[in-house]
Amino acid sequence: MTEPIVNNLTIQAATVNGSGSQTANLVLTRAIFHMGIPVAPKNVFPSNIEGLPTWYQLRITPQGHMARSDRVDILVAFNAATWREDLKTVRPGGVVIHEESYSTADARTDVIYYAVPFAKLAKAKIASDTLRKQLANMIYVGVVAGVLGIPWESLEHGVKRQFLAKPKAVQVNLDAIKVGLDHYQDNFAKQDAYRLERMTGAVEGKVLVEGNQAAALGALMGGVTVAAWYPITPSSSLCEYLIAYADRFRTDPKTGDKRIAVVQAEDELAAVGMAIGASWAGARAMTSTSGPGISLMAEFAGLAYYAEVPVVIFDIQRIGPSTGLPTRTSQGDVGFAYTLSHGDTKHIVLLPGSVEECYEFGRDAFDYADRFQTPVFVLSDLDLGMNLWMTPAFKYPEKQFDRGKVLSKEDLDRLAGEWGRYQDVDGDGVTYRTLPGTNHPAAGYFTRGSGHDEHAKYTEGAEVYARNMDRLNRKFETARGAMPAPVADEAAGSSIGLIAYGSTDAAVREARDRLAAAGRPVDYLRVRALPLSPDVAGFVQRHEIVYVVEQNRDGQMFDLIRLSLPAALVGKLRSIRHYNGQPIPAEAITEPLLQSEAVPA
């Protein structure tokens, strides 16, 4: 028997969508996390409610790598339809836990099989007819626990945490796990090399959160009071979490009054319109959607840019074009969102690279929107938004809200009513606004998407028009300086640099470890917002070759960066793109880099 492989393996559960396996997978995940071992789950599910194949990949590494990996160490084969295909994915020496009835005739011989009569066990050991089918999934949790040696209290924790809101469900589920555990212990002798052992120091102070949960919490802490949305995968859960959190934290126990309005609109045009109307009237307002919704919001986005109304728009990206693959991830909306709407329109775009930043940017986006009186897009994606990520516990905000330049009745009294809605008094391009309901005769003005002068009066004057457009540019430059700065790691002092953003960060981190291990360290700059910081040019300046890594076909950030650079630096840029809907794995970065002779050995 080979060297034991400890806390370094990937479990892949191949099941049927809607069969209840997701619950089992999450219990397994939480149990292992409870052992102090870093976990990185990726849920690969179909655009379907029931019946199609789905895969849950649970990556376990001592270093806490969070990127997807193609290597499968332990396969839980729970889907007859894909069984033969799934078998191929297991690495030699790997483990295959499968329903006994699946034929292994002329199947691979380089893997270790644990054939379990799941169906029979469920029939024999689970009383309730209605519950049998879904609890069968818990049985495999028990078997996996047996094979890897997951302690009972960790399993207990996993189940309790999973059914926090439904204590009644805890016991039945534990019983089912026990069935699997007992069956393993009574029938198998450990044949494989894989083990899980309690760790310390790796997950302390860490929690498991989905990006959409984090963003919803961020919005809540950012003071959102009006959220209008239209359901769409993978964005829906963001507003659904917001609703749950609002019920819990924003509801007056006595009156039942809610200190927030979450409206399910009739479509995305209405959703963003409601958010803009609310922001105009002084609320902190948001909407959340995905690609198709962004397309439908184009006209309103231009109105908010030009009439200068704050609004926060979350785009949880899925792979397009068009409907594309609604349950697959991508970074394909970056270029489109940046200049969303006809005419010369440009927007602030925040690019969270972790669930922690989903929380922080989801919160601060409202400050940026109010400060710059313009739409702020927060571009997350399916991988970040819908998977559980291990993260340091979020910090409580120390800053108060920044509501930007808003004139109160008192301000207007002080100014003797002398002000212009679009007058650049501070020279930063950011002008002052008033809110409806401000009790001063000079407060009112007319907001419009058509030509207006410094006092918000209608005009078709050529000079006034161009002047206002230039002022909007000035404002955009002010915003550039205020965005979250890129995060640089040039410790390697390499001549090679990587630039990435968003969920691609996980793969880049792992790739850098591997490259360093291979004696080819690379530096790294993670971009966190558009418009781009001047630091980007600085980083490129300091390196010979810079690879822009992203998850879209057309190298959208690669283009935006090239446009932002002095001509002399443009030639240093290379593009690495991954766009098959699966989260980018480290190999997608290491391979081109190791091939290209450019990398100094």
Partner: protein, 340 residues
Amino acid sequence: MSVTLNRAGLTRDAYKGAATTLCAGCGHNSITNHMIKALYELGVEPHMLAKMSGIGCSSKTPAYFVETAHGFNGVHGRMPALTTGAQLANRELIMLGVSGDGDTASIGLGQFMHMIRRNIDCTYIIEDNGTYGLTKGQFSATADLGSVQKKGSVNTFQPIDPCAVALALGCSFVARSFSGDGKQVVPLIKAAIAHRGTAVLDIISPCVTFNDHDGSTKSYSWVKDHEESIADVSFIPFFEEVQVDYEPGTVRDVQLHDGSHILLKKLGEDHDPRDRRAAQHVIDEGRAHGHLVTGLLYVDPTAEDFASTEKIPATPLKDLGEKDLRLSREQFEQFIAEFA
């Protein structure tokens, strides 16, 4: 013009706006005046008024009354969404929406209907001329069957009647009038503003420039020929606004600038505006007789408005601060701990 002060301590002049840029004689201008009268008489506080509109000649009119109030001239057909959001942000605002028939019944029909379904607390006035004025006279979805546009083509589709659609959706306030009938329009505007919930007021408002109701079915004099032949290039004849004044229960034949006619039938005391089916009935009956029934068709004062249904607190959401909106440090830490 009156110089007496209203409840808000303001003169009628305080309710005026910028000078109109609409065509002389446009029905919309009459409605603007009715609006000024109604808001003045109601004693609305200008700073609590939010004037909302879409895009069109009609949608320009909010600039022509209560200049000191906030206004939002949004994008075409999407005013209901902006209004919904603003109303949620600040329940105390008086939301007054002005739209056109194209803005409402063509591009905006979906939002119009969903606003009604939610019963947003707002007044929604349709300045209905059956045409796209600002884009020079194409048919809108409310154009009468068989009506002919200046360029000569005939409308071949059933008009969408905003009142009928609103009733079918259970709208809590549905009324119709005619721009020239100040006696009827002013009280209806007041009632609509007073109503808590979505009040739809469809005001027939002739477009003196493009909406040619009887069109080529009648043929006119030499002069008319020439007017047409020149007007279709760029000439806009100057007209007086049409005014009418007639009694409840009676039918009034109104001649429009191009010599065409519409028949207005004013609801009498016999109509019970609490009876939705009766309202549907009078509209259908009217249509059958070629009458446009005017007056308060239906009202349900008991219907709960959106903000109440959604349990929005009395303090405007816009005024809530960190204290009201953020979890306390303790709540926050406990909550995060649950994710361990």
